[in-house]
């Protein structure tokens, strides 16, 4: 069965982009990638697909702005860099999206949008309204007051929560992890990408948490847990490489790239 067929008809997608896809290994911004992302998302939006971008990268960009070369360890320092870098990051996104005549908005969320109903309602309503206005909301964690992303991962969980909140039908997580492998690709020559996952079994989680598969900063574990949130809400979820953002065109064309966590075709239930 071709599980990818359903991806051709997605109407509301959340794209999560990791720091590694926005910057060079030396920490400096990769304007080429960011501009390409702006182009791809604007083009997708123009086809009538609603798009939400969940972005990382504020801390790294803040460090770059301040000429700090080593990523700070201290939490308050990270928060301060994020406050500087988030403003820079939005400036760059605005500039590039402006180039494609696409309006963007900044929405900073704390993870407690899930647990505090009034915040949940406000955030959800604002996001729906922005989508209705053909605007692409650009979401990041509000690092100044919350500590979740900084401590736990690379916005993977936040992107799944957002997907649930806006009742998206697809979450695409782009990073330097191009998919879930059957074994550690660095050591096992036979390792290959698992293209379709129908159910997240304990064995699969074991595979993801094994030393071999944590070959990135964000890590596979947080991606699997994000995929779980999506599947519970009947949202398809894909892990793919963020090296070239044009991969989104291919994914929406149903090409078998990356790992697809296949949502049940049953009626959607929201879990937030």
């Amino acid at each position: 069965m071709d599980y990818r067929e359903v991806l051709k008809n997605k109407k509301r997608i959340v794209v999560k982009i990791g720091t590694s896809s926005l910057s060079y290994p030396n920490g400096r911004m990769n304007f080429h990638s960011i501009e390409k992302l702006a182009y791809v998302l604007s083009a997708v939006r123009r086809r009538g697909v609603q798009v939400i971008l969940v972005t990382s990268g504020a801390i790294g960009i803040g460090a770059g702005r301040l000429g700090i070369t080593r990523r700070p360890q201290e939490l308050a320092k990270k928060q301060a860099l994020a406050a500087v870098g988030q403003a820079e990051l939005m400036k760059i996104y605005q500039k590039f999206f402006d180039g494609y005549n696409q309006t963007v908005a900044q929405v900073l969320l704390t993870k407690d949008v899930v647990t505090i109903p009034v915040l949940n309602r406000n955030a959800g309503r604002t996001l729906h309204k922005l989508l209705d206005m053909d605007i692409i909301p650009i979401i990041n964690e509000n690092d100044t007051i919350a500590t979740y992303e900084i401590v736990f991962g690379d916005n993977d969980t936040l992107s799944a929560i957002v997907a649930s909140l806006v009742e998206a039908d697809l979450l695409v997580m782009l990073s330097d992890i191009d998919g879930l492998y059957s074994a550690d690709p660095r050591t096992e020559a036979t390792a290959e990408i698992i293209h379709s996952v129908l159910e997240i079994t304990p064995e699969l989680e074991q595979l993801a948490s094994g030393a071999g598969s944590s070959f990135s900063t964000g890590g596979m574990v947080t991606k699997i847990s994000a995929a779980k949130i999506c599947l519970r809400s009947r949202i398809d979820c894909i892990i793919a490489s963020g090296t070239d953002p044009a991969i989104i065109f291919d994914l929406l064309a149903g090409k078998e790239i990356g790992t697809h966590f296949v949502a049940s075709q049953k009626k959607a239930v929201r879990h937030v």
Binding site: L75, A76, L119, A123, T144, I145
Partner: protein, 224 residues
Amino acid sequence: MGKETIVVRVEISTLLGQHGKISPGKMDRLAKVITNLHNSGKHVLVVTSGAIILGAEKLKLQNLPDTLVEMQATAAVGQAELIRWYQRSFDEYSQIVAQVLLTSDIIGYPQRVKNTRNTFNTLLNMSIIPIINENDPVSSSDIEYDDNYPLALMVAKIAQANFIVIKMETNGKYMIVPGGSFKAVVVDGETELQEKLESICNVMIPRDTAVELQFPSSIGEIVF
């Protein structure tokens, strides 16, 4: 003793020129005055409004939005524009700024107050000026109805500020009123302001000296 910490509340209306658009000249003067305040050895935090007005301009809306959700969506667009203006203007004076968005409910969560205070302190110690606004897209409490007065007070509390600048004029006139005890200083020998304060509080105010003032009503009502 540490540096004096000052919270400056900026009303977007003081930054607008003709046709209700941001005036680059006024923005430039604000950046100059605030950077200068910072350079004189004080810790400065800016609380600004303006996300909705700038969002409406970006979206080419004929009128300002009037429903809550429209205001929130417009603010999400406009905040990004607003912070871009601050960045650009302060860049001219080699001053780095940071964006901090707060919801008023954090005051009820000690951990968040602590996180926010730590962030403020770290930014200030790194010589960065925090530009603070209400996180409108997710909160529904202030949404700029009240021109960020409560937010400025909250920031002053969190930052343990010595003074709040209640109203900043881009011509450099300003008035400072402390957060807790009602002390005020008239700077630059502003005669007009001095007379105004003297008449409001019914006392004589020596120049450049902090004096105890009893403001008759909420500080939000003081204008000059």
